[in-house]
């Protein structure tokens, strides 16, 4: 539990972060809330030579209305501040609800939305939520900024589309307009553990039928997964179709086997939890 020696840089601006990243390349790691990185360093699974602390970069905090039907959430906005933000609660309450299930109170008071997403862990809750929301991330590097769709951002286990000299500056999510319902089913061993499987279901209802359904799966592959077969099967159907559709929720997934669950059991859970989440969301 003693990390290896590292240099520490406290950045004051995004430009300073980018410059420092450029200088150190993959020897540097960004420190946001630290709740994923520091445990890895203490176990010496990660041993960056330079830690760049983003805690004083005020440009990276807060939520604003982009005016194009989307919200932009600064990467260093803490989970607790996302949950409590009036704009998020009014326009994208589903994100607040999923965020409320991240970790435990300590994690939510230190951890940040950008840090959680940039870590690229498909067992954490926000990647599947961002995928279901069709959200995007804004990355900034030496050559300026670019916007990356959630579906392109998560590449593999703990691997994202970010370059070594880029940082996530903000996360963009659409405003949820119309009669949407949602439910995040998080299935854990103990309350504060990672999800064995998580399912975010979002359902837009119209005249008693399902106009649109979205299903994001947590921890069913090395990246967050959209259960697109389930979504398509429900389009234009009544909620009666949910049980049959959910039976295909594990199609196309590649869950791992570990001490908490076998892959086969994870697939089973994905089907059960998808059904339950959809039924709750369609209610």
């Amino acid at each position: 539990m003693i990390p290896a020696t590292f240099d520490y840089v406290r950045a004051g601006s995004i430009d300073e972060v980018v410059d420092t990243l450029k200088e150190h390349g993959d020897e540097a790691k960004l420190l946001a809330g630290g709740h994923s990185l520091l445990p890895l360093m203490k176990l010496r699974f990660a041993a960056p030579e330079v830690l760049i602390d983003l805690g004083r970069v005020e440009q990276l905090r807060g939520v604003r209305d982009l005016g194009d039907g989307r919200l932009a959430i600064g990467a260093m906005t803490r989970h607790i501040d996302v949950m409590d933000d009036p704009l998020v609660r009014e326009h994208c309450a589903v994100l607040a609800d999923v965020t409320a299930k991240v970790g435990d109170p300590q994690v939510r008071h230190r951890g940040t939305i950008g840090g959680a997403l940039a870590h690229g862990d498909a067992a954490s809750d926000l990647p599947a939520a961002l995928a279901a929301l069709d959200g995007t991330l804004v990355a900034q590097g030496p050559n300026g900024s670019r916007e990356i769709a959630a579906s392109d951002f998560f590449v593999d286990y703990l691997t994202t589309a970010l370059e070594d000299d880029e940082l996530v500056t903000e996360v963009r999510v659409p405003k949820i307009v119309g009669p949407w319902g949602w439910r995040y089913e998080k299935f854990t061993r103990v309350a504060q553990a990672w999800a064995i499987v998580g399912v975010l279901a979002m359902v837009k209802r119209s005249n008693g039928s399902i106009e649109e359904a979205r299903v994001g799966l947590t921890n069913m592959a090395t990246v967050p997964v959209r259960a697109s077969g389930v979504e398509q099967a429900l389009s234009g159907r009544t909620p009666d179709a949910i049980a049959d559709a959910a039976a295909n929720a594990a199609d196309g997934t590649k869950p791992s086997s570990d001490l908490s669950a076998s892959a086969e059991y994870r697939e089973h859970l994905a089907r059960v939890l998808t059904r339950r989440a959809l039924e709750a969301a369609a209610r």
């Binding site: 299935f187 061993r189 553990a193 001490l259």
Partner: protein
């Protein structure tokens, strides 16, 4: 009781806020890791990443070049420092096989985490960094992981110096087992797995050892439960004379048995302090502790019960495989043997055979973990009684009641040959059933079964007893334990009327300071606030057997009572002298000695204390002192018991288990402090439920610990636990003057089978008759899949 009058009770039996808590909750604690000494150095331990290997090379030279590094040693470098290996105090058989256990391995490592070298530096960080520069080469040997395979002919060996992995086979047979089983109408047999657990005290282990300064004494602070045992054993292991070693257990943050030991790091710190002449500190990290601190449980239990046609229990057979791990720690081999007296539990039977195979494997050693042998036994018998009830087609309570010892039958000598002094299983059960709404829940269970609910209700029963108050020294002797089970207390009456109680027990969360104050306050008639309890320092509490096995109150509290009685007896003689009355004419109540029938002729305990301090006028045939010592050796164990009931809701689709309600009615005899007792029960329940639902130490086939940190080893927290309904019946023990029985382990012992019985009960209609612990969603789902018809269980 001794000859003194019975004082008015005003403290015992009432909730007093704990004297310990103010400094705990305001952060004014002194944990071992808080101790800073001038010139102190830090030691880091290089540990084997392999479960079994020959160590072919250890080169520390590069580490010595690192900044801040003062010294580095291989096992060979320090081999001549040890007077002996780390001790096992419980040679259970004459031919017990015990691997040589040097604090730092020299040529063979036998589990992941076995020490191979140490680095000493001027900072903890520097020491940790330098470990990466110690060059160790290993030649892998086959790891022995599976207990049964370990005993098969031709198995690879856990220790190349031995010719077997069988440490011992120990047998105890009471009654005619063949007759009981041969003529039985029904036999119920099962194999249960009592999985390996990791104790996970909140405070990790830590050691500081300072070399002699003004005089020749080494001082060791250790996060230990057993400062007295540690002092003796380190003296033997490290060749430091016992009188030149002082051991202090400062504030200690939980132990659960994991700090009931003599560890390599304690010996290492002492030897390094000796060799380098500087204070040495070591504090384990959590993941280091998971490899280097003892584990608990880990038994394969093959058990059978024989019944008559009328469901009368005739006999029991128990065959255990108990995983010792790679070395025998302080009491490792003795732990499963405590079960020899406990598998029969509260039940009458004619015969009991108990066989235990202690098996060496290349895993972290096991040793006493909260309950130590008794939870394992209780789990097996209480699970088996439920299985028997199911097979025999009777209500589980009915089968238990038919066979348990009736309250009018106490004292009762069990089939295992020990005498239960007191108990009332009927009363505890009646109270538990009422609090639980047993009949109402059974009716709801029936409804939900008929409706085919996806979430089924299960009801689990555990009617348990345990043996506490370790222990009568002669009994320990008969079990080949290396020491006795007495306890010591001293009472010092100070001239101002205040009192110091010195106890040989060593609390680490139990609240002895408060409870012992309550006992002494009533015994001496001195205000609770005027009593200080000192403990955990061999220079202050010079004699003791420390804290484990729910012994502290039963034996240590007993000693406090006896020492107080001696003070009162002396004070009475002085009071009689001062009041010019015959001793027999005095009565003592609430701190006042009074001549019977003459209310004005009185004096107080405080006045007597001052008078004897001045010593101007006291009886000629006594010394001018009220101070007293008592060393008590219990005549018997104590036998707390109780009835625990658990209702679980089991999601048959996912396997998720939720505890809906939990009722614990415990009979721990006389209660000194109800709030402390309730706290002990709550903590015990959490740990027992943790075994049932959450925790398991998992090794892979190569002997790697897969649950190496709190990331993978699931310790439940408050959100994972139900509201506990606790209550008590009170049947005083007859074998100590306080009537106390001990409560430290009751919750842990009782709760695990209650929970698993409830899970199995919920799933019984689906054909499930057992579920592996922990009853994780995966394990429950597996049990459902295994029992269900081929098309069942799908979403």
């Amino acid at each position: 009781m001794t000859a003194v009058d019975t004082p008015t009770t005003s403290n015992v039996g009432t909730t007093k806020l704990r004297k310990e808590d103010a400094h705990l909750v305001t952060g004014r604690t002194q944990w071992t890791d808080n101790i800073q000494l001038t010139g102190m150095l830090h030691v880091a331990v290089v540990r084997s990443p392999m479960a079994h290997a020959r160590v072919t090379k250890v080169d520390v030279s590069a580490a010595l070049e690192q900044p801040g590094v003062v010294a580095a040693f291989s096992g060979a470098d320090l081999a001549d420092q040890w007077a002996g290996g780390l001790p096992c105090a419980w040679p259970v058989t004459e031919d017990m096989q015990s691997p040589t256990h040097l604090p730092i391995a020299t040529d063979e490592v036998r589990h992941v985490g076995d020490a191979v070298a140490v680095v000493v530096a001027d900072s903890r960080y520097g020491a940790a960094d330098a470990t990466e520069f110690i060059d160790v080469e290993y030649e892998p040997l086959t790891a022995v992981v599976d207990m049964e395979a370990a005993l098969a002919d031709g198995s690879p060996l856990t220790d190349t110096q031995l010719d077997t992995n069988r440490s011992f086979t120990w047998q105890k047979i009471d009654g005619d087992v063949d007759a009981a089983f041969g003529s039985a109408a029904h036999v119920v047999e099962r194999r249960f797995i009592n999985q390996r657990l990791i104790p996970t005290a909140i405070e990790p282990r830590a050691v500081v050892c300072a070399p002699p300064r003004e005089h020749r004494e080494y001082t060791m602070w250790s996060a230990t439960q057993v400062p007295h045992i540690l002092r003796l054993m380190l003296a033997l292991t490290c060749g430091v004379p016992e009188h030149e070693l002082r051991v202090i257990a400062p504030d200690v943050g939980g132990g659960f048995g994991s700090k009931l030991n003599v560890y390599a790091e304690e010996a290492i710190c002492l030897v390094l302090a000796k060799r380098l002449g500087k204070p040495i500190k070591w504090t384990e990290s959590r993941s280091e502790g998971y490899q280097a601190t003892i584990h608990g449980r880990d038994q394969i239990q093959d058990v059978a019960l024989a019944f008559n046609e009328d469901h009368t229990l005739r006999g029991m057979k128990v065959e255990l495989h108990a995983d010792m791990g790679a070395y025998l720690q302080l009491v490792t081999p003795g732990v499963p043997l405590l079960g020899a007296f406990m598998f029969n539990a509260i039940y009458k039977m004619d015969a009991l055979s108990f066989t235990c195979h202690g098996v060496l494997t290349n895993k972290t050693p096991t040793d006493a973990y909260r309950g130590a042998g008794r939870p394992e036994a209780t789990y097996a018998i209480e699970r088996l009684m439920d299985e028997a009830a199911n097979e025999l087609g009777v209500e589980p309570f009915e089968l238990r009641e038919r066979n348990w010892i009736k309250h009018e039958e106490f004292p009762y000598t069990t089939v295992a040959g020990i005498e239960y002094d007191s108990g009332n299983y009927e009363a505890a059960t009646a109270k538990a059933k009422e609090l639980f709404d047993y009949d109402g829940l059974r009716a709801e269970q029936q409804r939900r079964r008929e409706q085919g609910d996806k979430v089924q209700l299960g009801i689990g029963i555990s009617t348990f007893t345990e043996m506490c108050g370790l222990a009568p020294s002669r009994v320990l002797g008969s079990l080949s334990y290396g020491a006795g089970g007495w306890e010591h207390a001293s009472v010092r009456m100070l001239p101002s009327g205040k009192v110091e109680v010195i106890t040989g027990t060593s609390p680490h969360g139990q609240g002895h300071v408060t409870s012992w104050s309550q006992i002494a306050a009533d015994a001496l008639g001195i205000p609770f606030e005027d009593i200080e309890v000192r403990h955990g320092d061999t220079a202050v509490a010079h004699k003791g057997m420390d804290t484990y096995g729910s012994r502290s109150l039963v034996v240590g509290g007993y000693a406090v009572q006896v020492a107080c009685d001696k003070v009162v007896a002396k004070a009475k003689r002085v009071a009689a002298h001062l009041l010019e009355a015959a001793e027999d004419d005095l009565e003592f109540d609430a701190g006042t000695f009074q001549v019977k029938g003459s209310p004005d002729a009185n004096t107080s305990m405080q006045d007597v204390a001052l008078a004897i301090f001045a010593a101007h006028d006291y009886p000629e045939d006594m010394e001018p002192s009220l101070d007293s010592d008592a060393t008590v050796d219990p005549e018997n164990f104590s036998y707390p018991h109780g009835t625990h009931l658990c209702a679980t809701e089991v999601d048959t689709e996912t396997g998720a288990v939720t505890i809906r309600s939990y009722v614990a009615v415990d009979d721990v005899g006389t209660v000194i402090n109800p709030q402390i007792v309730e706290g002990q029960v709550h903590g015990g329940l959490a740990q027992g439920i943790a075994q049932a639902l959450y925790e398991e130490a998992v090794y892979d086939a190569e002997g790697q610990l897969k649950t190496g940190s709190l990331l993978d080893y699931f310790v439940p927290a408050a959100p994972d636990l139900p509201h506990f309904t606790t209550d008590r019946t009170e049947t005083p023990a007859t074998t100590n003057p306080l009537g106390v029985k001990g409560v430290g382990e009751a919750g842990t012992i009782a709760s695990t089978p209650a929970v698993i019985n409830a899970v199995v009960d919920a799933l019984r209609p689906m054909g499930v008759n057992d579920v592996l612990m922990p009853a994780s969603p995966q394990n429950v789902w597996n049990a459902i899949q295994a029992a269900a018809p081929a098309d069942g269980g799908a979403a």
